[in-house]
Amino acid sequence: MRLSAEGVELRYDRKVVARNLSLEIPDNQVSVLIGPNGSGKSTALKSLARLLRPAGGRVLLDGASIQSLPTKEIARRLAILPQVLTTPEAITVEDLVWFGRHPHRRTVGAPSPQDREMVEWALRSTDTAALRDQYVDQLSGGQRQRVWIAVCLAQQTGLLLLDEPTTFLDVTYQLELLDLLARLNGEEGKTIAMVLHDFNMAAEYADHIFVLAAGELVCQGTPREVLTKETMRTVFSLDVEIGVNPRSGRPLVIPLRRRPVSLPA
């Protein structure tokens, strides 16, 4: 296990998000965190990526406590796409993607051929090469999201943590992104852990699903084990039918509309 959280307590100042959370990110697999808004998914991901120091317990990366490793060293092994991002002004797509090479470069000196290669690859993979000379703050939400993903890819890490990478993307690009991640996983053995809200995308692409509710790991397992009527009702207060995707054989979650509420007169 390259990355895991062992009994971490996660808090912001006084607000406690999780008391005793343990997560083991399976190597060379695609895992997905699901859970209601505010359940602590982003917080958990942040602690796995050393963006948030646990108040108790520890996060281990390759056997060492992540807080004890030099942050630049971590950045060569693990890339994180945070949920909330600041878009810098007046910077072109290509220049932004170059920042992905930052952890691999010295303070001064020209970039290496490998730096160039990775940047080009990241631009191509996210279909942002044609946007390279445009300013990032003038792109659409979805285009911008793809550029941020390109930054993470250019980092060339074995571990990729992504917090809701599909937000802002139209369905086509959602699928293309998830296909790309699946390919990176399949062909290069990259370990991917991401937060998704769409059950069916999770079912289709995840090898392993973690379900979080109120800062606790409620259950985990394969999509078939986890995406059940029971989970949906207790964790998400949803009535669902579970079907089967005719192509992949994976579960298909069909939310049912609730009984009509009477509107105030």
């Binding site: 963006l51 060293e73 994180i80 991002l85 992905g100 279909d127 090469a129 000379d133």
Partner: protein
Amino acid sequence: MTAIAPSPSPASTAASHRTARGRWYLAAAGLAVVVTAYSLTVASVPLPFGDVVDALTGRADDALSRLIWDYQIPRIILCWAVGAGLGASGAVLQSVIRNPLASPDVLGVTRGAGVTALFVVLILPATPLSLLPVAALAGGVTVTVVVYTLAYRGGTTPIRLALVGVAASACCEAVIRFLLMRYPQNVNGSLIWLAGSFFGRTWQTVAITVPWVVVCLPVVVFLGRRLDVMGLGDPMAVGLGERAEGTRRLAIAVAVVLASGAVAAAGTLSFVSLIAPHIARRLIGGRMAALTPMAAAVGVLLTLGADTLGRGISPPLEIPAGLITAVIGAPYFLYLLMRTGR
């Protein structure tokens, strides 16, 4: 996701940016040489350029040599050091505080330096003048440390730094006013210092100031890419391998030392550290590795230009350089405010 549309070759666009930048650097350097040469000829009596060349090559009489070597040259060197320090420091602070209207004033550096310098001048008039810069430096650094500490809650945010800095500046300003009213005997000299002036600066001030700049300037230039990464916000910056708070602290520290050193040497030259980065950004864009040196160059031009103008307008009377930068800077600042305020 595979690329479909053909795109311009990356090398060509990056290269064209680089040549454009190169041209601006050359232009700035050329201009600096011209202004420096001209500045050498501006004294209480105008000096013909030929005489200046004679003095520089050791073929002039004693009085002229003394004038050039003991007054003109140290003064110009000081303008260079102070201008470069202020310009670079402003660029770094604007980047770290993520506010284009930030400057060493926002962190309290200028006013803090002013307080301790005035304190020395007014209350301890027996202190040798050479200690004035040291006092100012101590004041600038102290106020910044206080500001940083007050803004620190397990980390700082740009907005908290700016707010605490503005409050601290206001407090220091109050102390300055109080000192001026309470000790009116020495006020004249203090006012000139507060206005920012290179009057009567000698090699001694040069010797105290230049090392600061020579050491700190390369540091902030080399911080360039790291500061650009910091501009992506703390989470992303940490993700890309920056210790966000550590980098911020380092950048602020070096910028403050630069600015305090400048203020110590020449008093408050208003607006230079605010405006130089803006002009530089207009010329070559916002990437810090390229911007910081350019902001330093523009700072030199502004400072040297203001001092030369101040000496040349109505000799033998001197107008403090800080007054001139204020006259030029205030409208520019208002213009900036209106543009960013929209």
